[in-house]
């Protein structure tokens, strides 16, 4: 019998195949583990957990006994290296946390395990989720699935590349300002940043608490929807979680797509504009309605984001002190030295920069001018988006300004890296959902993503629109 091509199958096909005993979870897990080894040079996977075969066998036995199993029974799921899974290492791709072992499991790991998924591996990322290329990591820069000389995107670069290369059927990433959507776009896979509060942040290392959201990266839209519905839901350990209503069907036959007036000029100057224009043309032919909408301050989102999130990061990362759960500087003699030396040796450059930026905008004399102003802008943006969504079902943009850039290309100039987030941060600071799906290949033959932003809790609508686009032929 020909060996099944598990890496060509969707999450739901694998789950159905295991449940119906057509395949064994153990052979699927072994297939992906071997493939991870073969593709090690991409630096997408940090480690495949050592208990995965035992766990897979147990699921197979449970199914053989005719016991009821969960929706993801036996399906391997990779998690980003900032998500806690009890007893497993988790390092945030940082020297500071290299030997950290999770003392408890995050809510999302518990949810996945309660559906009998196999927590399969941890994926590479930018240190503490700060960066847009997965170059800020102690495990070596993660390489783009389509061109090894180019970046994976980030910060969830390892998760996106792992799915694109078929090293696992689904990987969980986290998105604070585009960290799921941008690498998904760069690697031709599907990524979503759900409405803020949809997925519990309990047991995920905090970067910017008011915009952090975890979500699945998958090959197809249906799998994204399927896994997100498992991750979503209120959690007593995270008081910002909300009731999600994903089961609500998207009922509209004809959708209206909004094009944001303030972004039009920017988009027209992008090298990949012809592809974007062609996609709009196709959507018009397919019967989508179009309307121009205005989000007057959308171009200020980036500045707002790079004030608010470093401020939160500076506070969140204050707890990493060389005493409780990080490494400690060998040369520290006083308590003050334990703090300063451990942090200076442990945190990478980008993380240190964000902590200092955060403390700058929060410090006396600058707080009102920067932080307070950014908070006021955040509220205004939420209102502006809400007004725009009175006229349309979603706002369409490219996910990124272009294709994946070259490794080493932007890492020395932090501001140029920040500008990559232009289209992804507005949804982050406004708390609204945004879905990125692959739609074309750019001038270097690399994938491009289309981003659909919608009103709060409109994930179903976004999925439905993306599926209708090109009659479902959204793949590249």
């Amino acid at each position: 019998m020909m060996k099944a091509e598990f890496d060509k199958m969707t999450v739901q096909e694998l789950a159905d195949g295991i449940r119906s005993q057509k395949y064994k979870s153990e052979e699927i897990v072994r297939f992906f583990a071997e493939k991870c080894e073969k593709f090690a040079k991409f630096n997408a996977i940090i480690e495949v957990f050592d208990d995965v075969f035992d766990k897979a066998r147990k699921i197979d036995e449970k199914i053989a006994r005719g016991e009821k199993v969960g929706k993801l029974a036996g399906v391997p799921v990779a998690i980003k290296d900032n998500i806690l899974c009890k007893g497993k290492k988790m390092s945030c791709a940082s020297k500071f946390m290299k030997d950290f072992v999770a003392p408890y499991s995050s809510t999302i790991v518990k949810k996945l395990e309660s559906e009998d998924a196999i927590i399969f591996a941890r994926t590479n990322m930018d240190e503490f989720a700060m960066g847009g290329s997965t170059e800020n990591t102690i495990y070596g820069a993660c390489k783009n699935a389509f061109d090894e000389s180019r970046v994976a995107g980030g910060s969830s670069g390892g998760s996106a590349v792992a799915v694109a290369l078929g090293l696992c059927p689904v990987a969980i990433g986290t998105d604070t300002g585009g960290s799921v959507r941008q690498p998904s776009s760069f690697n031709g896979v599907v990524g979503i940043k759900p409405t803020y509060g949809t997925v519990s942040r309990y047991g995920i290392v905090a970067f910017a608490s008011s915009t952090d959201q975890a979500s699945p990266i998958t090959k197809i839209i249906e799998d994204s929807e399927f896994v997100l519905s498992i991750l979503a839901g209120k959690d007593e350990h995270d008081m910002t979680t909300i009731d999600s209503d994903f089961e609500m069907a998207a009922t509209k036959k004809k959708y209206t797509i909004g094009l944001c007036r303030e972004l039009t000029e920017k988009i027209k100057t992008l090298p990949e504009y012809p592809h974007f224009k062609a996609a709009l043309g196709k959507m018009k032919q397919e019967g989508f309605g179009f309307v121009e909408v205005s989000v007057p301050h959308i171009l200020n989102s980036l500045a707002c984001y790079y004030i608010l999130t470093p401020a939160e990061a500076a506070s969140n990362l204050a707890r990493f002190d060389g005493v409780k759960y990080t490494s400690r500087s060998a040369s520290a003699r006083t308590l003050e030295e334990v703090f300063v030396k451990s942090r200076s040796e442990g945190f990478g450059k980008e993380v240190q920069r964000r902590i200092m930026l955060g403390n700058f905008v929060l410090s006396s004399g600058y707080f009102d001018a920067y932080y307070k102003k950014a908070k006021a802008l955040q509220q205004l943006l939420k209102k502006e988006f809400a007004a725009a969504f009175e006229k349309c079902d979603c706002i369409l943009t490219p996910t990124t300004p272009g294709e994946a850039f070259e490794i080493g290309g932007k890492i020395k100039d932090p501001l140029s890296m920040y500008l990559e987030d232009l289209f992804t941060v507005p949804a982050s600071i406004s708390g609204i959902p945004a879905l990125s799906v692959p739609y074309a290949k750019g001038q270097h033959g690399l994938p491009l993503g289309l981003q659909f932003m919608g009103r709060e809790k409109s994930e179903k609508v976004l999925y439905d629109i993306a599926k209708k686009f090109e009659g479902g032929r959204y793949g590249i």
């Binding site: 408890y104 209120k234 910002t240 980036l302 790079y306 409780k324 006083t334 700058f360 006021a376 509220q379």
Partner: protein, 89 residues
Amino acid sequence: MKVDLEHLEYLSKLKIEDSEKEKFEADFVKILDFVDEITKLDLPQEDKAKALPLSELRADEVQEAEPCDTLLNAPKKKDGCFVTPLVVE
């Protein structure tokens, strides 16, 4: 814009290597110049009441906490305590 790097290091409990200070400061100023656009915007005041939309608070009941080894990752520990250098004479 001028940055008081020493003060920021103090607030951040970080020390930038002398050899990296110049590049760090130049990058830092470039970023601040970029985000500075926000200071020029004429915006309505932030409504503090709406700043954090929280879901309903859970009932204030004592619950069993999941057992968790707090000291599991401590770089130095003794007799169930974190060990630090002496802070009082």
